[in-house]
Amino acid sequence: MNTDPDTLTAFRQEVSAWLVDNIPENPGFLLPLTFMEVGTDEQLAFLVAWQRKVYEAGYLGMSWPQEYGGGGKPPAYQNIVDKELARHKAPIIFNSIGLGWAGPLILEMGTEAEKQRYIKGILTAEDIWCQGFSEPDNGSDLGNAQTRAVRDGDEYVINGSKIWTTHGPYSKYMILLARTNPETKSKYAGLSFFLSPMQAPGISTSPIQKITGEYGFAQTFFDDARISVGCLMGEEGDGWKLAMRTLEYERSVEGGQATNYKITAITSDDLIETCRSTQRDGKPLLDDPVVQDQLVQFIMEERNLLLNQKRGDLPDLCTDYPLSLMLSGKLEATELFRRMRQYAVSLQGAKGGLYIHDADALNGGIWQHAYFNNFSATIGGGTSQVQNNIIAEHALGLPK
């Protein structure tokens, strides 16, 4: 498949034109900015339809193998699509746990039967996926997961509970980390990895109300739930290895996702626009030198992220701490966005006290909403504090 610059430029234009014609009209209800914010049936129906439309146009899973429903093209194509989706501020492609984490993991480590069974449904959004890693008592300390899976003939009996299950109530499958052996010397060795159905006797979900006041994720309970032994991925004891690999996909340390477009970016451009249109002391906020200085600082940091990504592709410029750029992206991006959004709320004067349900809220309260939701990014997938530890230990080589 051709990746010469002219072909790719033509492809970019084709995608851009398609998006202009096909991005749906504003549906009149609040659309999730990230895949972690899907909380109502109407949002779900809208996003399922949108994902299917993108897939049917050939713009999703372009680098996945054709025999399982992918496009069989070089990664450059999907990267272009992802960039165009972002540039056009398209609705997100929401089935991220399948598209971004479980899918690439199954393609890399799964059996032929698993690939045949699961990959296509991830792409069409027929099968929505969720993740069962964190537990109420074991969030950051994932290796200590206590949910039990006990072999009983052709089945495993699962008992325990998983929490922060994004898409939990809508999901058909879960990537589940459970303990098959509680007596191993190392806590990590007793873990196993399952591609578990969600619609099975003994599995139930209870929605959790989020800081934003909305729903969208859940606690999942396993009460003598029985799943087939065929759900075990790899061997018993492979759980930690597979979970770590999953996290590498989740944190984009490893490529191979069907798409990386899972959040609508709110950028410094949007912040500038807010400052242009908001008056303070009788003048646009954008004319205030104190505000200007902070905006410049944010733009510089945003540019750092972009340039770091570019430099990450040039190993000759990454010789000091070769792992650092790869490991720090999530921390830096999510923390910057958190600070920008918090700042955008602070800027609003008394309107900063209004929330999304108030018709007078600035831009529908998008900054308030986005600020709160951003905590899912600084906490989920490893908190910023854990990320700091990882970078300190793996990039700088500091002791545990």
Binding site: V20, E25, H88, D313, L396
Partner: protein, 383 residues
């Protein structure tokens, strides 16, 4: 922010690193490691000239003084993008030579002098004659005019501050006011009266800089640089100066971080390596992240220099200012934490952390501190 609205497409993420730059980076890194160990750096702290003449001559022999000068004057015509890896390496080893002032002085001659004037001075500079810039009347990098005067009779009047490596410089490129507008004037060392050079006592003892009184120095007409659009050239030179200082600071931040990491990996307190405490780990990661951002900015600016063939457009101005502001902040933070994390030892002159925090204070002021650049970025980015 509405659905379907196309956001601005920033085409400002160019980043390349050529084989040539790679070779320059590798050879300059090993040269500086060999010629500027911490022991050597400390030995030079009290010497009046601040650097080792032998090292300077070796550096000249490697061709670095001519790297951004056209072949017709004996240089290798590679541009500022090839200077960046060299100064980064120098910063990494706290290597002291007059390389940055010489490079900047040569750029002034290249852009502001007539062909005859270029032929007179550039080959000598390629061969290692030390040249330096005399730009500031005082401490203000934001000043837009100079009070320094060149009279109709071509006699200079006034002082210049922060003239780097004045002790060994043979050529001084002086920013002056001539018949109502700014002009560069070249003064040779032997024109300076006894006592005209007064060394500043600098916070960074690896650097040398002086106050010079040029009053009553008479120059000939051919010492006045030909170009009349001095202000534009000056603006460009300040941006190049900012970028080179940023590149140097990035190198220094790297070695400062190495110093911190080494200490955190060996020092024990309360029975544990102090590097295992999150209170020290997390700020160390902050230093790393600031360093990485600044390094990206510096090499992005270098890439734009190469793309623009030396012409400075808006994107390059943005890149140079962001590089300087980011590098300032990275080194200031690294130097500050290096002292703190060394505990009691950090408070001593013997601890190498002092070299870094002192360099950080010096470096941030060269060609403008972070606020100076952010202030100038505001109209470029928010207009």
């Amino acid at each position: 922010m509405s659905l379907g609205q196309v956001v601005k497409n920033l085409n400002a993420d160019s980043m390349r690193f050529s084989e040539e730059q790679k070779m320059i980076l590798e050879s300059s890194r090993s040269f500086c490691r060999d010629t500027s160990s911490i022991e050597q750096v400390r030995q030079l702290l009290e010497s009046p000239q601040g650097y080792d003449e032998n090292v300077w001559q070796q550096l000249v022999a490697l061709g670095w003084t001519g790297i951004a000068i056209p072949e017709s004057f004996g240089g290798s015509e590679l541009g500022i993008e090839a200077v960046v890896p060299i100064v980064e390496s120098m910063g990494r080893s706290l290597s002291a030579t007059p390389f940055i002032p010489c490079t900047l002085a040569a750029q002034v001659i290249l852009h502001a002098a007539s062909p005859e004037q270029q032929l007179r001075w550039l080959p000598k500079m390629v061969e290692g004659q030390v040249a330096t810039l005399a730009l500031l009347d005082n401490e203000d990098w934001g000043a837009t005019t100079t009070t320094h005067q060149l009279s109709d009779e071509l006699v200079l009047q006034g002082e210049k501050w922060f003239v780097d490596d004045a002790v060994t410089a043979e050529l001084f490129i002086v920013l002056s006011q001539y018949q109502g507008s700014a002009r560069f004037v070249v003064v040779e060392r032997n024109q300076l009266p006894e006592g005209a050079i007064q060394a500043h006592a600098l916070i960074d003892e690896t650097k040398r800089s002086a106050k010079i009184d040029f009053t009553a120095v008479a120059v000939s007409a051919d010492a006045v640089l030909a170009e009349e659009n001095t202000q534009e050239i000056l603006d460009d030179i300040k941006l190049i100066g900012a970028l080179l200082t940023a590149a140097e600071a990035v190198g220094t931040t790297s070695s400062c971080l190495n110093l911190i990491v080494e200490y955190l990996k060996t020092r024990k307190q309360f029975g544990k390596l102090i590097g295992s405490y999150q209170a020290l780990k997390h700020p160390s990661v902050d230093i790393l992240n600031k360093l990485e951002g600044a390094r990206s900015q510096v090499y992005h600016a270098a890439t734009l220099f190469e793309e623009g063939k030396g012409k400075i457009e808006r994107d390059l101005e943005v890149a140079c200012r962001m590089a300087k502001a980011s590098a300032n902040d990275a080194l200031l933070y690294a130097g500050d934490r290096a002292v703190q994390f060394h505990g009691g030892m950090g408070f001593t002159y013997e601890c190498d952390a002092q070299l870094y925090i002192r360099r950080a204070q010096w470096s941030q002021q060269q060609f403008g501190d972070s606020a100076h650049h952010r202030k100038r970025l505001a109209p470029l980015l928010l207009g």
